[in-house]
Symmetry: C2
Subunit: 345 residues, 2 copies
Amino acid sequence: MTTEINEREQTLLKMLIESYVRDGQPVGSQKLARDSRLNLSPATVRNIMGDLEALGLVSSPHTSAGRIPTDKGYRLFVDSLLTVQSLDNDEVQRFKQEIDTDESVEVLIERVSSLLSGVTQMAGVVVAPRREHQVLRHIELLPLSDNRILVILVMDKQEVQNRIIRTAHAYTPSELQQVANYLNASLSGADLQTVRNRLLADMRETRSRMDRLMQRALDMAESVFAETAALDDCVIAGQTNLMEFSELSDIDRLRSLFDAFNSKQQILHVLDQCLGSPGVQIFIGQESGYEPLNNCSLVTSSYGVNNRAIGVLGVIGPTRMAYDRVISIVDATARLFSAVLNQRH
Amino acid sequence: MTTEINEREQTLLKMLIESYVRDGQPVGSQKLARDSRLNLSPATVRNIMGDLEALGLVSSPHTSAGRIPTDKGYRLFVDSLLTVQSLDNDEVQRFKQEIDTDESVEVLIERVSSLLSGVTQMAGVVVAPRREHQVLRHIELLPLSDNRILVILVMDKQEVQNRIIRTAHAYTPSELQQVANYLNASLSGADLQTVRNRLLADMRETRSRMDRLMQRALDMAESVFAETAALDDCVIAGQTNLMEFSELSDIDRLRSLFDAFNSKQQILHVLDQCLGSPGVQIFIGQESGYEPLNNCSLVTSSYGVNNRAIGVLGVIGPTRMAYDRVISIVDATARLFSAVLNQRH
DNA sequence: TCTAGCACTCGGATATCGCGAGTGCTAATA
DNA sequence: TATTAGCACTCGCGATATCCGAGTGCTAGA
């Protein structure tokens, strides 16, 4: 059931939210009547407010204060009242400069995160690219002592991963070389997801042919890529910006929020939901379903390579935020970041 | 000039601090007279307090409140009044269990940091081991495309570092193998500090002999180890614990403290000062010389391998903390951590 | 359907008061 | 001389009272 409201009500709700976002003060009927160009008396506005309150779009903190938007009010506003101003070109250029460096992806993520926080004065967050979507370019195996093998996965241009695995069998260097050659031939160029699938298929197929070395090679590979599914990490910048907002300033709320940031788990979970859908997504207040984020909104967008989403970035701030601005900032940043990643292949 | 105070004054100052640390309330003459077993009247205690205040060891927040310790008071307390109770053996065992796992050093550092914060209910901090002191075990060189070479430094058992360098000259795989062999022969087993020194010496010496390949090898190695001096990092856990303390609860102070934690630079600088001296070190309030740490104390100890300090760990909390307990905790933790690192070689 | 008018409500700012804990000083005491 | 009892004084804190103004809901009239 969509809550239908007429044009005049829309105008007023919009003005109310814009005013409240600007000043942080509950908005009274008088002010609203004056500011809107509708030539309505305060009394009329009051009536309308009464209706909006009945619909759950606004509420008043107490009897003799003005109205403030509810989560539902913000939702309606964001969905159908908002006029997103696209970003100033100069500003986009500034962002681009900030982001477009040839540092490692990790550093880049930090940059993007603090760009978001810096420019919005709220908390910026970037979920690291899902490992599964990274392309494997090269595998190298080095023997260490005690049946331990150092596995080096060369991924993207700037990206290298090491893993140390233990094997039951002690390989000779030349055996290892053979194994590496085989794995390189059959796996390089694929993303980790594919790699794992292909491995499983190979294992089933080879099992019958009983080539002992191959068998072992696959076992080993399996144990390497098993841990590939490791949880993604996310980088949050500018947490302390949130201390400025009076609506979050009670110490307990703030603490639970910061604890949430530190553990990251739940945050990640919320953000993961955005990975599927394209474009900017918004969670308002309780919508995230995660208690410490009450009174907070999340504006996110996924970013990716080759039109495939591999991560999510966005901004966390109080529900009372300038959605138009934030949306365009998040959108632009996601596009820029995707572009930078793309151009690295 | 040391501020000399007589035994009775010492007793009272000690009691005052212990009481204040416990309750967080300014301590009045009456309470102090009653609690101390000195059989003094409140009036006498007041006189003594007057003296201590004149010496700058205590102060009163306002006329009609009791006294609280000053930084200088805490300092005297810590230096000569404190009786450090050594840690309960059970507790030490618990710590040991927490720490003594065979995870990577990075994870270990996280563990130690949150152990410290968890057990003290303040912020725990661990400065990562200085890279220079790690021992190099093995070097491997892998050619990538475009004159880029992947350098793999196998350090400690669990520790591997990668670096990608660009070279002017394109090496053939066999040349690279040769270079690697040479570097392994001459460098492995030394710590990075030594490695760098040895490299410089070699370069000077070889320059005359003009072996082109060697020359290039050394150039390359030089460019690898140049960046070794990279800034150390530190891990801070349990920041949010500090939100509980009323003396830090004004939002601006808290914010500047958290900002300090995030940038880490200054914190690191303060902590680095502890690297030199052995045993537990303490900075009280302003002593750190770093503004956001006013009202905070730092209790640290260095840890190391083979009796050589390679890092610092400790606790950050309000000046009003239970120094005796914290000192023994930090001390024990540093010893345990050193032991764990040692046993890994 | 809108608006003017009006009584009412409530939060926030400000002022006042009393209490109690604690001080500093002085004079008496051991 | 060092300690103590006594006393006047100070000050922060919490409770209470008061006022003001912004804003509301309702009703009746345009």
